[in-house]
């Protein structure tokens, strides 16, 4: 009944990024509207990053926890 330690670290990392997203959306709407890259607003970039990061961390976990 053990969860590999690396799983919890990866979880903590993702949680932090997710909480950052919630905080920006709720308390810094101006930042979310900025368009720093390719003319896309932070709201979209951050959202897509959250989706991509989930897959990257999951794939990374497969390699690390062998």
């Amino acid at each position: 009944m053990r969860t590999p330690r690396v799983a919890l670290w990866l979880f903590a990392l993702y949680l932090l990024v997710y909480l950052g997203f919630m905080a920006l959306a709720a308390f810094a709407p101006g930042v979310m509207a900025a368009t720093p890259l390719a003319g896309l607003p932070i709201s979209l970039l951050y959202g897509l990053t959250l989706i991509g990061l989930a897959f990257i961390l999951a794939a990374l976990y497969l390699r690390l926890a062998r």
């Binding site: 053990r2 990866l10 979880f11 919630m22 709407p29 607003p41 959202g47 989930a54 999951a58 926890a65």
Partner: protein, 626 residues
């Protein structure tokens, strides 16, 4: 809107349903033992199981609800996509592996692996039943929503067809065939969304001729016919003009003596009028116009031609889009009018959170307004790992490594799908094909703006989506009743055979309850109901799952109390919320006793707190000599 039934759509639909039924019978014919029925003998290949995760998870609400929400409100629908996917991180990193090692068939098994307590089995079974039923309601409503325009049947017959087909699937075959149904449907869904997205990108954006509609002078509108004086429509806000053809045009007054034309649907004694004429497509009848268009593109061009995936989003962000607001007005004599008013919104505004009624609080000034948003995002994050029909899928593969691989496969497929929903939703928003009165139809109607056969196929896939998710839920509920309640709580000594037979009877019973609920809750918004199901699942199940894994002092009393308190408090909060007052009971939302509608941010921590306090107050458990 009135939908014309096409023989092609009916043909495709019937073919798909028959295909799924025959396939599930054929694939499931060997599953006679209890472990075969509930867990597919633990022999499903990890890749099949991974895509089946996507099939289980991408429910009618995901597909129809999220596409519809993005199509009407932009970014707010995408917030659901983000939250739903993030939840898988909790499932993979925290819950999946220990659960796989501890359990056999059900979530109750896993929780109870250390304690052998009837109380835990009872609490786990009750929470599984409640969450499954809560999650079933939107699926059944979604089925009715789909079948109405597709086949021209009533909402109730749509719900009945789904209920009956699903019950047959579950009774004839159990987990093996359910898994294959999910695999096929999950694969089809992602493949066709990819196809649709490609078509959207190739089409690019186009400003239709005649747009943007500029407000007209009130005097000009009045010349078209006879001005109606009606106390229901005060003249300081509204201008109604009876046209020569008998229709009534309703204008909303703007500053500077200008007016803007709206579309009005009135219901009186079960009859529906559109702009004052009976709803229909014949002469003397009228129907809602389809909507959704770009009114201005960057650089003043009228068409963009094919766009890349990044250029599509950038162009949208720099465009202006015509969106429609909805206002319900109760008139004299029990009549209800729904007024749809167009307005221009910048793409940049639509790509920020807070444009929809559900999330508008995030742009509010008080903390309570924002809490509603934070609470829902938290519930989506924590809810996935607590959904019973997702949890049981961990028992259908061989070992922990297979659990990991299939979860990663699932995350890949689901993540890709959610990125695609963004394109589907924004594509639908600018397709000119939207039904202003039905957000859930955005994705199928988008497909119809390309071609009729594509519409038929997408609708059929959406329908199998409902079938797949509902069968998984019914199976989870049936497993909880037979395995946890009958065998362990009431101590019935059932043979394997008897377990499977009892499970099938329970599946029939749950199917009937689901059909009744699907008919009763016809009017409720699909994706909103799912948000509530996530709240209840996370509040009831997550605290005990997590604490059992990471806190040695957890006792059985603590677990039972946490499940019961989490479930009861989140349910009570939802029933007392402003949203329920408005949408379920039809009462004034301001009179609701709780300050915001999503309970998660309060009831999830409450579950943890109850577990810790009760565990500390109850006797330390004796470690078995191992």
């Amino acid at each position: 809107m009135v939908y014309v039934t096409s023989p092609l759509a009916v043909g495709v639909f019937v073919t798909v349903v028959l295909f799924v039924l025959v396939l599930s019978w054929w694939l499931g014919r060997g599953a006679t033992s209890a472990s075969g029925y509930y867990a597919a003998h633990g022999q499903i290949h990890w890749f099949v199981n991974g895509i089946a995760f996507a099939g289980d998870y991408l429910s009618a609400a995901s597909f129809l609800g999220i596409c519809g929400m993005i199509a009407f409100y932009g970014y707010d629908g995408f917030l659901y996509s983000i939250g739903y996917l993030a939840g898988w991180i909790v499932a993979l990193f925290v819950v999946a592996e220990p659960l796989k090692q501890m359990g056999k068939f059900t979530f109750g098994d896993a929780l109870d692996a250390r304690f052998h307590s009837r109380g835990i089995k009872l609490a786990a079974a009750v929470s599984t039943l409640v969450v499954s039923l809560f999650y079933l309601i939107p699926q059944m409503v979604g089925a009715g929503v789909l079948i109405k325009p597709l086949l021209g049947f009533s909402h109730a017959s749509g719900v009945l067809i789904v209920g009956i087909v699903v019950t047959i699937i579950v009774v004839t075959a159990g987990m093996v065939s359910t898994t294959w149904v999910q695999f096929i449907k999950g694969g089809l869904l992602v493949a066709f969304c990819l196809l649709l997205t490609t078509m959207i990108l190739r089409r690019g954006f186009e400003v239709p001729p005649g747009l943007p509609v500029t407000p007209v002078a009130a005097s000009l509108a009045q010349q078209q016919g006879r001005v109606i004086v009606d106390p229901d429509w005060p003249a300081d806000t509204w201008l109604q003009v009876q046209q020569p053809d008998g229709a009534t045009r309703t204008y909303r007054r703007l500053p500077g003596d200008q007016v803007r034309l709206t579309q009005v649907v009135t219901t009186v004694n079960g009859a529906t009028l559109v702009d004052g004429l009976p709803q229909g497509l014949e002469g003397g009848q009228r129907d809602l116009a389809t909507v959704g268009a770009v009114t201005a593109l960057p650089g003043g061009v009228t068409t963009t031609g094919p766009l890349g995936p990044v250029a599509f989003l950038r162009t949208f962000n720099e465009s202006t889009i015509e969106t429609w607001t909805t206002e319900r007005r109760v008139l004299q004599g029990g009549r209800v009018a729904t007024v749809y008013t167009p307005r221009e919104q910048t793409g940049a505004d639509l790509l920020q959170p807070g444009a929809s009624p559900t999330f508008k609080g995030v742009r509010g000034t008080t903390l309570f307004d924002k809490l509603d948003f934070l609470s829902l995002m938290l519930a989506l994050f924590a809810g996935t790992a607590s959904l019973p029909h997702i949890l049981i899928r961990y028992y259908t593969v061989k070992d922990v490594m297979a659990v990991r691989k299939s979860t990663v496969t699932g995350i890949g497929a689901i993540g890709l799908f959610y990125v695609l929903t963004l394109y589907l939703g924004l594509g639908a928003m600018t397709s000119g094909a939207l039904d202003v009165s039905n957000t859930n139809m955005a994705a199928p109607l988008l497909a119809r703006s390309f071609s009729e056969p594509l519409f038929a196929v997408i609708s059929a896939i959406a329908f199998t989506t409902v079938l797949g998710t509902v069968s998984g839920l019914i199976l989870a509920a049936s497993g909880a009743v037979v395995h946890d309640l009958l065998t362990h709580v009431w101590g019935m000594d059932l043979t394997d055979d008897a377990k499977v037979r009892a499970g099938k009877w329970v599946a029939v019973a749950v199917g009937i309850v689901a059909m009744v609920l699907g008919v009763v809750f016809e009017k409720l918004n699909v994706s909103f109901l799912v948000g509530w199901a996530f709240n209840v699942a996370a509040s009831a199940n997550l605290p005990s799952l997590v604490m059992l894994l990471f806190w040695k002092r957890t006792t059985k009393e603590g677990i039972i109390a946490a499940i019961m308190v989490g479930m009861a408090s989140s349910l009570a909060w939802i029933l007392c919320s402003a949203q329920a007052y408005k949408d379920v009971y039809g009462w004034a939302p301001e009179t609701a006793p709780v300050p915001f509608s999503q309970p998660g941010i309060v009831t999830i921590p409450l579950g943890f707190l109850v577990l810790i306090v009760v565990s500390l107050l109850s006797p330390r458990r004796v470690e078995p000599a191992a």
